[in-house]
């Protein structure tokens, strides 16, 4: 035990999350249904502890702790993402409290699974060994499969879980296959060793190239990048809304974080090859995501396609990073992804929080038409949704504009002004479907025949989530400085 004392200390936040998860799951059977709220608060408490631990080190950018013979590392880059994940997880749990009760499936293990998925994400961002990263990915994915199918009475939820599991397992297989080929080529699964091996073997080794492509495909599934996005709409629509929010925000960010570390730290020597690959993927992703979102009538499905499109925008930052010379040339691109995904989290969480609690007679109103006339019935709720939609469309002075600004800045700096122009033109396309939500809320008269028009059911927890989300969207839109400098400095710790 004393042998691993320092290692375990480095992973203290992960341990706290796992222990809290086990506590929640084991306390669940002995907790009466009326007091299950306590399990949620227990989870929030554990997360708050982690937030204090990691957040306390947030300004010590140079602290870099390697643990377990360089399988994991805790550096500023990992801490950036972890703080984001804690925040997202806390908000998701608070959002879930009223949502799960309204859906009649307030189960204690739900919180346990959120924490387990979170611990997987934390391992993903800290892992500097492909197998460690893989383990984290699987832990996250398996928890998400279960959470997707949590609503056992709904066929759509079960279908989504099954679909997600089959495709997810398939993609994990591809990822693992790529890892094994890379192990064959490099003789190690450690990112630093792989980078060294690529340096000596040369970048045009076919084995390395195939392995890189397979790993890229595996991650593209997790990021929901075209053409590996097929699972996203069905899963986002079928899963409970709070789970969808968690997937769209945290799972996507974690996949991006691990993906960036793998491709920059491990496969940086091949960036001439992969930057072209991701150029094609990013254009396909943002074009398809934005165009298909137009025809959706279900708002969760629309946001699923919109989240695909947003992955495309974030990938532009990655392409720009690939075009830059050395790590300093890659900094703006990588930092822009971190900024983008952080800001995207606020607006997406906010939008899903509104969707989850917009209820018509006990049922979730998840059609876009359910928002008809919301501005008349509940002006504040409609106004919040207006802000979230405007931010997703990237209209200043919201956070969405800042996120897009930094991504396009990086793209133009890398000589990709034409890519920025294409992406921005498709941002206009996206404005159409986001503004359609605004349109039905503000400009359509509610159907007079309906007896119980959908209303946003308020609760203290939901109000807190919405307040946090809207504060993030507005404040980071007006004062992005702290976030930007934090991201710029954190990304420098990538080797």
């Amino acid at each position: 035990m004393s042998l691993y004392g320092a290692d375990l200390l480095a992973l203290l936040p992960e341990l706290i999350v796992v222990v809290t998860a086990c506590l929640v799951i084991s306390l669940d059977p002995v907790t009466p249904a009326s007091r299950r709220d306590l399990l949620a608060w227990l989870s929030v408490g554990g997360l708050a502890l982690c937030l204090g631990l990691t957040g306390g080190q947030i300004n010590s950018l140079n602290i870099r702790v390697s643990a377990f013979s360089d399988l994991v590392v805790v550096d500023a880059y990992a801490r950036f993402w972890k703080v984001l994940f804690y925040g997202v997880a806390i908000l998701t749990i608070l959002m879930s409290l009223p949502y799960l009760k309204a859906e009649g499936m307030h189960l204690g293990e739900y919180y346990g699974f959120i924490l387990l998925a979170l611990s997987g994400m934390m391992v993903m961002v800290s892992g500097v060994d492909l197998l460690t990263i893989y383990l984290g990915t699987e832990l996250m994915s398996l928890s998400l499969y279960v959470m997707t199918g949590l609503n056992r009475s709904k066929p759509r939820s079960l279908e989504a879980a099954a679909k997600y599991f089959v495709l997810g397992a398939f993609s994990s297989g591809i990822l693992l296959y790529g890892i094994s080929l890379l192990y064959g080529a490099a003789g190690s699964t450690k990112l630093a060793a792989i980078a060294g091996a690529i340096g000596t073997r040369g970048a045009d080794d076919p084995l390395v190239l195939i392995a890189t492509i397979l790993i890229a495909v595996g991650f593209s599934f997790k990021l929901a990048a075209v053409p590996f996005h097929m699972w996203t709409p069905d899963v986002y629509q079928g899963a409970p809304t709070s789970v969808t929010a968690f997937m769209a925000v945290a799972a996507k960010a974690a996949s991006f974080a691990a993906f960036m570390r793998v491709f920059v730290e491990g496969l940086g020597g091949l960036k001439a090859d992969w930057s072209f690959l991701f150029l094609v993927i990013s254009v396909a992703t943002l074009v398809l995501g934005n165009v298909v979102a137009i025809v959706q009538t279900n708002i969760k499905r629309m946001l699923a396609y919109s989240s695909i499109a947003h992955a495309g925008y974030a990938l532009i930052g990655f392409v720009a990073a690939g075009r830059g010379v050395g790590l300093s040339g890659a900094t703006p691109g990588l930092a822009s992804i971190m900024i983008y995904l952080t800001l995207y989290s606020f607006m997406t969480l906010g939008a899903f929080a509104v969707i989850g609690m917009l209820r018509k007679g006990g049922i979730e109103g998840e059609e876009i038409d359910d928002f008809t006339g919301l501005a008349k019935r509940q002006p504040l709720a409609a106004f919040l949704m207006l802000i979230f939609m405007g931010s997703l469309a990237g209209i200043p002075p919201t956070a969405g504009f800042i996120g897009k600004f930094y991504v396009f800045m990086a793209a133009v700096e890398a000589g990709l002004a034409w890519l920025a122009a294409i992406a921005l033109i498709f941002a206009v396309v996206s404005a159409y479907y986001y503004m359609r939500v605004v349109m039905v809320m503000y400009m359509r008269e509610p159907d007079p025949s309906s007896i119980a028009p959908p209303r946003l059911v308020a609760s203290p927890a939901l109000s807190f989530v919405l307040a946090c989300a809207v504060a993030g969207v507005i404040l980071f839109g007006l004062f992005p400085n702290p976030l930007v400098s934090f991201a710029l400095q954190s990304v420098l710790t990538l080797k």
């Binding site: 010379v325 900094t331 501005a375 209209i395 200043p396 800045m409 921005l424 206009v428 404005a431 930007v484």
Partner: protein, 519 residues
């Protein structure tokens, strides 16, 4: 004289504060709060007219606060002779918009007034921003309020008009963002508008940037053939929305050309002059012909706007002192005259609930005061000597004459056509035979409506008879703009390499390395 008092920030903050106050107010108090906020803004703006030093060549009332450090974006504001009249016009038009909406808006008055006030902040912001990103933020931020203004409080076909306006203008302006970012990397890593205006850019790059700027500004002006959103938006918008669109929003496009395209991209501007002149003349004549064919008053004025804005872009792109001064004056004139005409249409619409000329015939008998004011705005619109538009159009034509006599002849056609459609409209609306079933419903102007129109009538004659104070204040700034266009050209330099580590100037490269990214 540059005073340290933050005049311009006050101008931006007052309407926003009003909007917040409106949110907490009752429906009936909302009108008064909005009126107070816009009047307060006007009171802050008015002293600038006298405090402004017409001889000074630099920006005045400047404010500068760092906003974002990486890349360096600052909250910097300032006024020169070009933006001063536009800011004053904005501040002057907004109280009239509130007054015009007093009874016309019946649903969610608080929301309406809040939207108007937010619009005022963003519009003033566009004219006073000295940082390109700050400008872009204001430029884009106005879009959602305007979308709501048309879409929520507009006419029967408002949904279509609102989304058309939104997508058209957004599509134009996203390319502007790319152009701004490209300029940043070529222009010495700054978003400062004045610094960027001093830079020299390779000729081939200027062409692309000009086209991107053109996409944003030409849609907003709107120039032919990007004008198709305008008639829809004008017709469907509530009166205040039409006035804001015509008087202020359209000016932002022309202001963009003058503030950015001409000084930053002088070579491309010269290359594109023939095209711009041709497009302007097409707009003048086409707009006038379309106006002739309209049966809807608002549509008629909307198309006349296309025609009049053609004069503005014509004046800008003949690239001489007379032309540009005429164009700036014409921007203000169009704001006053067309704003007045839209207010007149709004007043009659409240009475007859129709904007068709056929339904509003012979108003001279039941509404004599209204008829006089409508006739004054109409005569100003056709450029009668003694009214404001005559001075502006005359200057533009003088400027055009120096550039090309044929172009001048073609543009003058527009004035003749304007006389035709305007006089024909006046003939029917004012002096036609009234339809008997309307007569009882028609009351002449009340005090509120008179107060809405009177300031504009006053300005019509003030500028028409004494244009000198207006022209003299913009003289120095226009001279500057023209001087900066003829600055020494530097041979095309290599663009920054794709990696962005070797920018235009060597010292910038050093800066980049020492300060990290985006500096």
């Amino acid at each position: 004289m540059t005073s340290s008092f933050p005049w311009l920030s006050l101008l931006l903050v007052l309407p926003l504060a009003g909007a917040v106050a409106v949110y907490f107010a009752t429906e009936s108090a909302a009108r008064w709060i909005a009126l107070a906020a816009t009047l307060a803004d006007l009171l802050v703006a008015l002293p600038l007219w006298w405090l402004f030093d017409p001889q000074a060549s630099q920006m005045q009332f400047t404010e500068h606060v760092a906003w974002i450090t990486a890349p360096p974006i600052s909250y910097s504001l300032g006024l020169d002779g070009i933006s001063l009249p536009l800011v004053l016009m904005t501040a002057g038009i907004m109280p009239l918009c509130v007054l015009a909406s007093w009874n016309a808006i019946t649903t969610s008055i608080r929301g309406f007034m809040a939207v108007l006030l937010v619009m005022e902040t963003t519009m003033v912001g566009v004219f006073v921003a000295l940082d390109f990103i700050l400008f872009y933020v204001f430029w884009e931020a106005m879009m959602i309020p305007m979308y709501l203004l048309i879409g929520v409080w507009g006419g029967p076909n408002r949904l279509y008009a609102a989304i058309k306006f939104f997508l058209y203008t957004l599509a134009g302006s996203v390319l502007l963002l790319v152009a701004i970012l490209v300029l940043y990397f070529y222009g010495g890593h700054t978003f400062d508008i004045l610094a960027l205006s001093q830079g020299t850019y390779p000729a081939s790059l200027q062409i692309w940037l000009f086209l991107a700027f053109f996409a944003a500004f030409a849609v907003k002006v709107p120039m032919f053939p990007f004008h198709t959103w305008l008639p829809d938006a004008h017709v469907e918008a509530p009166t205040a929305g039409s006035v804001i669109l015509a008087s202020i929003l359209l000016k932002m496009g022309a202001y963009g050309f003058l503030r950015f395209s001409l000084p930053m991209l002088p070579d491309a501007s010269r290359d594109f002059t023939p095209l711009m002149v041709v497009l302007s003349i097409i707009a003048i004549i086409y707009g006038a012909y379309m106006a002739l064919a309209q049966v809807d008053l608002k549509k008629l004025i909307a198309y006349s706007s296309v025609s009049h804005m053609g004069f503005v872009t014509l004046g800008l792109f003949v690239l001489n002192q007379q032309g540009i001064e005429g164009a700036v004056l014409q921007m203000v004139n169009h704001g006053i005259t067309t704003g007045g005409l839209f207010l007149c249409v709004g007043i009659i619409y409240e009475r007859t609930h129709s904007r068709l000329i056929a339904d509003n015939v012979g108003l001279a008998a039941p509404m004599p005061q209204y008829a006089v004011l409508l006739a004054i705005f109409a005569l100003s619109s056709l450029g009668l000597p003694g009214t404001n538009s005559f001075v502006g159009e005359f200057l533009v034509l003088v400027g055009t004459f120096l550039w090309s006599k044929i172009a001048t002849a073609c543009a003058s056609l527009g004035i003749i056509l304007a006389a035709t459609y305007i006089l024909w409209m006046v003939q029917r609306v004012v002096y036609g035979v009234p339809s008997p079933h309307h007569l009882p419903a028609l009351k002449d102007l009340n005090h509120r409506e008179l107060a809405t129109l009177a300031p504009l009538v006053l300005l019509v004659f003030l500028i028409g008879l004494f244009p000198n104070p207006f022209v003299s204040r913009m003289h120095q700034s226009v001279t500057n703009t023209i001087a900066s266009m003829s600055r020494a050209k530097v041979a095309p330099t290599a663009p920054p390499s794709a990696e962005g580590t070797a920018p235009l100037l060597a010292d910038n490269g050093a800066q980049l390395k020492t300060q990290g990214p985006w500096r």
